[in-house]
Amino acid sequence: MTGTTLDTTVPYLNIADPSFSITSDVVHEARERSWYARTNYGIAVLRYDEVSKLLKHPKVRQGSIAWPAHNGITEGPFVDWWNSWILNKEGEEHHRLRRLMNPAFSPKLIARMVPRFQALATELIDNFAEPDRCEFVSEFAEPYAARVIAILLGLPESEWPIIARESATLGLAMGVTFRQELPKIEQALFTLYDYVDELIADRRRNERDDFVTRLVQASRDTDKLSEQELRDGLVLLIFGGFDTTRNQLGLAMQTFTRHPDQWRLLAERPELGRNAVEEVMRVNPTVRWVTREAVEDFTFQDLEIKAGTTIHLFNESAGTDPRVFGEPSFDITAQRPPHFGFGGGAHHCLGHFVARTDMSEALPLLAKRLRDPRILEGAEWLPDSGNTGPVRLPIGFTPGS
């Protein structure tokens, strides 16, 4: 962070401490004292209204572009790919890529995939190794998230382990071991490049009525999309949709094991699936923070924010802000103000209609089949910051039908 003058009476959060929990009482207490906190890397915004405004503020940009450099990684294939991300572009270049990608994620197109999502969820539950327990991540969340991407991109669903394995390795770039793992991460990137190169070559030979064909045509027939942008974009779509959905499904199970009455209600009323996704993402979002960076000096609520300041928007803290949501509660029938689990503004999650639709189909089916779920011994979790979720989540349940 550069230069923003901070009042030392405002709370300080050490977000680089490995034991720091972004959903802890420390954060919630800080929220009651101040709308923002000081941190190791800029400011953290803790309340709903301020998060909502700063997320879409005209004086900020998306803030993750500097992440590799913060980790001492300034060149090489990973950095080239990272800089190609639509998330890390701004202005007209961002808009051009966004306009090209949007049609793949049209809500009308996604609605047609609902029967396939339902069949997939049912198949995975039917195939659990044990009748009354499962390892939720490897037996459900992971194959579900990966096969949804395969369905979306017109890839053979049987190839889902490639998507899962290589995306998970790429995901190490978001964590504290980024630098040590770089050779492995770059190898995963090359594997995914080879994979999408084959996909592109296939669609060149055999055009289909699908999204990848449309991108291939845009790259061939117009100057709207270069060959490299096409490869980079497809790898990003595979990566971006996998980790987040897998983690969010695991977090949904965690939340519902704490609210068994709500799980029973969801089994009885599957039409609440959509609202259940919103409610889970409000109180237990996988994207624990969204990052912005000030592009010029500006004043916000008497705080002078200097150009270059990193602004972390704390999602769970905003989503449980008592000024907006009252006493802590979890109610899948409630109509609430929107959460920020999909970010917002120009960089609002491109895949949110898919994520909302696939999770809102999966959760009621799970509620029906996995009655009275409880987390068994052996669960392992990612750190409670950045992007979080279970690595392993053994669940016991009473089989339902």
């Binding site: 909502s52 879409k56 503020h57 005209p58 961002h94 808009h95 966004r98 306009r99 949007n102 049609p103 049209s106 809500p107 009308k108 929107p338 999909f342 917002g344 503004g345 120009a346 609002h348 949110h352």
Partner: protein, 62 residues
């Protein structure tokens, strides 16, 4: 053609302004402004804008 935006739903994400910049813009405060009766030649991009709106707040009336 005639457009309405349900401003009780609109969250100013600005996706419509990316999809159809001739019709939807974000002003200096980051708030949506739009042309309610755009020329019919812009129909395709307006439909894209309605489609992409994260909160589905854009309605094309005719």
């Amino acid at each position: 053609m005639k457009i309405t935006v349900d401003m009780s739903l609109c969250q100013d994400h600005g996706q419509c302004a990316i999809a159809a910049p001739a019709v939807f813009q974000m002003n200096e405060e980051g708030k949506l402004v739009y042309e309610a009766n755009p020329d019919d030649s812009l129909r395709e991009e307006v439909e894209q804008a309605a489609d992409v709106c994260p909160v589905q707040a854009i309605f094309i009336e005719d």
